[in-house]
Amino acid sequence: MFVGRHEAQRSAISFVVRHKAQRSAVSMGGAQHLSYPMLGYTFRRLLGAVLVLWLAATLAFGAMQLTPGDPAQTLLAASGASPEEVARRRTQLGLDDPLPVQYARYLADLARGDLGVSWLHGRSVGRMILEQLPATAELALAATAFGALLGMALGLLAALYRETWVDALATGLAVLGLSTPVFWSGLLVILLFSLYLGWFPSAGSGDLRHLILPAATLGFALSGSVARLVRAQVIEVLRMPFVMAALARGLPLRRILLLHVLRPAVGPAVTVVALQLGFLLSGAVVTESVFARQGLGRLAVQAILWRDLPVVRGVVLVGALAYLLTSLLADLLQVWLDPRLR
């Protein structure tokens, strides 16, 4: 395993030298950023968040305007409503107003925290989202936990046994996760664990047993990128002088791995997972459908297919909010996990 220890040591030392040199370069270049007081940073981050929310809202508004199809006609066509009745409904939905008026009204409602009423369901969008949010959050969290754990295990194995068959197997599994669609792996999992073995239910939400299959399926898809990243990180950390020092001091390898190697490697994995939130929601769309779960993803797909604009906008805003929150959390978590960053 440590065939190239000598060489590794050398490169680790040379790494430190360069690292220091580079750090000074960074602090020169980034001095003005670092000198900002914490308050200013918080303020700027908050301002950025508002900007992102506004942009996401505008993006959703614009995208749905460009999408062909008349919402009023979509709602009423199958009922045999006359063209006049469809036109009346269109006016009722406010679709006859000029675009700037619709946009201004939308922003004004948003500012008051009003997400509007779903054209398709006839209920408050805010309430509908609140109903679906817990199930989606539950799935996302469980899948993330599973994906992160599996990814870290695979990445660690691959890094420790680099360039051996273990590496090939672990990397292969990770890429399998990256290249297997959830609608396909989900069905396999249902057939195997639910129908043939009868271990877990295939459908619905509620207790933990219902969560296991969908979370594992979605988590497996997520583990691929985590594993690739952890592998790279661990290889990098293994080259660090403090690992050598710890080895020299006679600390057991297991302890070194846990305390010194894995801990700093987890941070970036967490952030990658945070970045994958959009992916997670996309995956949730399919996962919810395959495992007959409730959730935001299904709500959003239905809304897009039916041109239910208030719901589409609502889900996008919630997605943006979740994205901002997770990236903030990930930043904090990483600092906590990796003391070098403090």
Binding site: G4, E7, A8, S11, F15, H19, Q22, R23, A25, G30, H33, G48, V52, L55, A56, L59, A63, M64, T67, P68, A168, V175, L176, S179, T180, P181, V182, F183, W184, L187, L188, L191, G224, R228, A232, E236, R239, G267, P268, A269, T271, A274, L275, G278, F279, L281, S282, V285, V286, A300, V301, I304, V315, G319, A320, A322, L324, S327, D331, Q334
Partner: protein, 299 residues
Amino acid sequence: MRKSVERASRCPGRKVLERALCALAIPQLQAISPRRPLRHQPLAFSSLLWLAAIALGAALAPYLAPSGPTATDPSRALLPPGPGRWLGTDFLGRDVLARLLWGARWTLGMGAEALALAVGLGLPLGLAAGGTGGLRDVGLMRLVDAWLAFPGLLLAMAVVAILGPGLSSVAMAVGVAAAAPYARVVRATAREIRAQPYIDAARAVGAGPWRIILRHILPNAAPALVAFATTQLGWVLLNGAALNFLGIGVPPGTPEWGAMLAEGRAYLRDAPWAAISPGVALTLTVLAANILGDRLGEG
């Protein structure tokens, strides 16, 4: 080789997110031993062989395939693999091998088109943001954040609706959705390179921002960006297929592998071969692209 090791440790973005992204873009397989020729790296070599094989299969499909990719024959529906139908037939009696061979064209074409769009949009955006910094950087990145906040698959659905149906629309839709993370990675990498002393030197001798971006940042960032692009190949192919699963997507009957997978899953219990073949082909291709991407990044 050394250079890439340095890069791995030097992802200094102020935000942790950016640092992680930058690290993700750094090639994964940094062997400490000196670089070996490709033929002595069995994984990379077989990856290259596989990609060459499917490219050849795609090119020679008219000669190799036992029949056309859309020729149906209800009397031969769902037959298991056997002589004359090496991978079996699907629910419309079409030869799976023929569809797989022809499908390589659509699949590779779609993947290439989507990736080209992701890179075409993401690269300039990320370079403009990360290569110049300042207000432009902040503004562009908030835009990318908003874009990222739109769940990729939903964005793709909206784009397909806007562009109208068709294989090319699907490719563009997933490409647009993949462009945002790409822009983020480009920006993180560009910022990292911008912090290097030689950039300061270039600036000191009067090089303009765009000259710095094009002459210094882009060439140095290229390997990492290629590596990340290949990891996105899997994403674009899978999400093209997920659109099919959701009932919009590539034209019906297109032998694109993802679409074959989506269609074949309904018959998983009667005719697993109809879905397993495109599934294995898809996985191997994504695997090969990932491994080669890593190796390219190392160079």
